[in-house]
């Protein structure tokens, strides 16, 4: 069996806006993306609004037909799959959305919501489904009596636990999380991240994480792909990407992270302007109009995504640029803070489910 579980080859998605009295406009939301997600890893796709990361999520989930290129699952082209094969695929490939409330039917009890995917896929008898759903409820840190309640009775963090239970109840192999913790407050976010990490380990999941919060990505991901205007500009092991970005756009993202420590630099605005309109991307390197290191050929020659050690980078000058990342020792805690954390540890008996015993 191959090491790669989910793969995109030359993946493209164009959206055409037809207009009556003017030429049609075409947005290349995803423009020739190659990526390979390895079994058991957490692979993150990061980028700012409009970079195409959510379109990528839909393409990988086969919820959207690509305009070009293919998505391969376990080495098989999903485009050629029969309905029966696609149904099986959807059992293996599940999704967690950003806002669980909008994806939960308000008229169904939580128990019924968690059973639903089992029913859809015809897994088990009614009694077995109920038992499986109850077990799943416990694994995401909710109590048995929660099964009889309705989504509106739950807080944001609890709803996201319900969303996770629904995604995992069919025993998928790959889970795609589209901003799964972005809507949550930081203390609740930490609970949900821990649950995801624990379940990933227990169930041997592969996780594809679409997110914009760089600290969350650093914490969760093994490898990270950075997208800009529909293309991957850099892909690297998470620690390398944060410590030594190779693409100027990655470096700009790192410089902009607000760092929660005393005397932290204010977030640095190293980039002028905003991403250009994807309808009319600039020629050459799509990042060149905002790049502080751009030279003449960047304005005309589109840099290919090429291998450089164990990373891939799309920059003509990746070898010669030395770009600052997040310095080692960033966010170091004062000794008093470490002592108090130890005090908290001694008293807190919380577990991976984030609930008090």
């Amino acid at each position: 069996m191959s090491d790669v579980v989910l793969e995109a080859v030359g993946l493209e998605k164009r959206f055409t806006r037809r207009r009556l009295f003017a030429a049609d406009t075409v947005v290349r939301a995803v423009n020739g993306v190659d990526l390979a997600v390895r079994r058991g890893e957490t692979y993150a796709i990061v980028g700012e609004s409009g970079c195409g990361k959510s379109t990528m999520a839909r393409l990988l989930l086969t919820l959207m037909r690509p305009s070009g290129g293919t998505v391969l699952y376990e080495g098989r082209d999903t485009a050629g799959m029969s309905d029966r094969e696609l149904r099986a695929l959807r059992r293996d490939l599940q999704v967690i959305f950003q806002d669980p409330f909008s994806s939960l039917n308000p008229q169904m009890s939580v128990g019924a919501l968690i059973e639903e995917p089992l029913r859809v896929h015809g897994i088990g008898t009614a009694a077995e489904r109920r038992a499986t759903a109850a077990a799943m409820l416990a694994r995401v840190g909710l109590r048995p009596e929660h099964a009889d309640r309705y989504p509106h009775e739950f807080s944001g963090g609890q709803r996201q636990r319900i969303g996770i239970a629904r995604a995992l109840v069919t025993g998928p192999k790959v889970v795609i999380g589209d901003e799964p913790v972005s809507a949550l407050d930081v203390s609740i976010q930490a609970q949900v991240i821990n649950i995801l990490a624990a379940l990933k380990a227990e169930m041997g999941l592969t996780l594809v994480l679409i997110a914009h919060d760089l600290a969350v990505i650093r914490h969760m991901a093994d490898r990270v792909a950075v997208m800009y205007l529909g293309e991957i500009v850099e892909e690297a092991p998470a620690d390398d990407l944060f410590a030594r970005p190779a693409h100027p756009y990655t470096a700009a993202l790192m410089a902009a992270i607000p760092i929660p420590e005393t005397g932290a630099r204010a977030p640095a605005a190293t980039l002028e302007g905003e991403p250009p309109n994807p309808v009319a991307p600039p020629p050459g390197c799509r990042f060149h109009p905002r790049c502080p290191h751009a030279r003449d050929n960047c304005r005309t020659d589109h840099p290919a995504l090429r291998e450089l050690g164990d990373r891939r980078v799309a920059c003509h000058y990746a070898e010669e640029l030395t770009l600052p990342g997040i310095a080692a020792g960033t966010q170091r805690r004062a000794p008093a803070v470490e002592r108090r954390f130890a005090l908290l540890d001694a008293r807190t008996q919380d577990n991976d489910r984030g609930e008090r015993p």
């Binding site: 700012e48 609004s49 807080s155 963090g157 407050d185 930081v186 203390s187 609740i188 976010q189 930490a190 609970q191 991240i193 821990n194 914009h212 760089l214 600290a215 969350v216 650093r218 914490h219 969760m220 944060f242 410590a243 700009a252 993202l253 410089a255 902009a256 992270i257 607000p258 760092i259 929660p260 420590e261 005393t262 005397g263 932290a264 630099r265 204010a266 977030p267 640095a268 605005a269 190293t270 980039l271 905003e274 997040i326 080692a328 020792g329 960033t330 966010q331 004062a334 008093a336 803070v337 108090r340 954390f341 005090l343 908290l344 540890d345 008293r347 807190t348 991976d352 984030g354 609930e355």
Partner: protein, 324 residues
Amino acid sequence: MSALLEVRDLSIAIAGAARPLVDHVSFDVAAGETLCIVGESGCGKSLTALALMGLLSNPPLRRTGGTARFRDRDLFELPPRELRDLRGGEMAMIFQEPMTSLNPALTVGDQIVEAVRTHRACSAAEARDRALEMLRRVRIPAPEKRLGEHPHALSGGMRQRAMIAMALANDPALLIADEPTTALDVTVQAQVLDLMVTLQRESGAGMMLITHDLGVVAGLADRVAVMYAGRIVETGPVAAIFDDPQHPYTLGLIRSIPALSGERRRLATVPGTVPTAAAMPPGCRFAPRCPFAGPDCRAAPPLAEITPGHRVACHRAPIEEKAA
């Protein structure tokens, strides 16, 4: 330095709830200073700002007590007319989502002109010059062109700049910013924060910045007030909050943030959830989630000073003496 704004014992209640949503909140903002109010959803940070601006939706929300002295006037005692004169003039506010606070039917220029002419006697041409100058100051590209455009034609970052331009058009002495960069991408957030710092330095205005992001706090704050469930639980200079945090909630917040470098450890969490408006616990409101809570926490702890300027509302403060 005397305070520009002095809020004392502000309380806000909602119809139907037994306990107030904002409970005896007190803080100062001095000229040229940035006070960050930090906390999670439902902690009352936005309600506090809205109350100061006289914008509480009333009912169901009701201010039940407190004073807010701004340049020797009590904001809560001002006749509506005088409050309107202050608002957008000496005291301005920036909201999280500019699209919902800008008028979609008016051009950016008309909105700034309106803000200027509401507060000062000047000709339309003078107000327009001022609007153009403000768009330049917030570094909006092609400002002449932008004056004539509607908000929907601008990107999120540009809209937030336009709102800052409008808020600063009348040289406010106090700026209240409620999550001004939360909806923005990280590189655009950096630009807008940078702009706010620069403009504040130039104008010497006091700023009350409401945020949930401790990174933004570390970069901008002079002083910090941490709110939990309607109360300030800890307040002090920014260095005290990050290097000498005392309240178990502050510790929990700092600890929940994933690290940007070094070893990756399982995230520590604050167990449980924030209480809802209808179910605020008696006594210390953090006690149900606090690993150090004891029977004495059924009485609300006072916000007591432990080092100069650093105050904590916890029966276990200082924590290493009393909770170890």
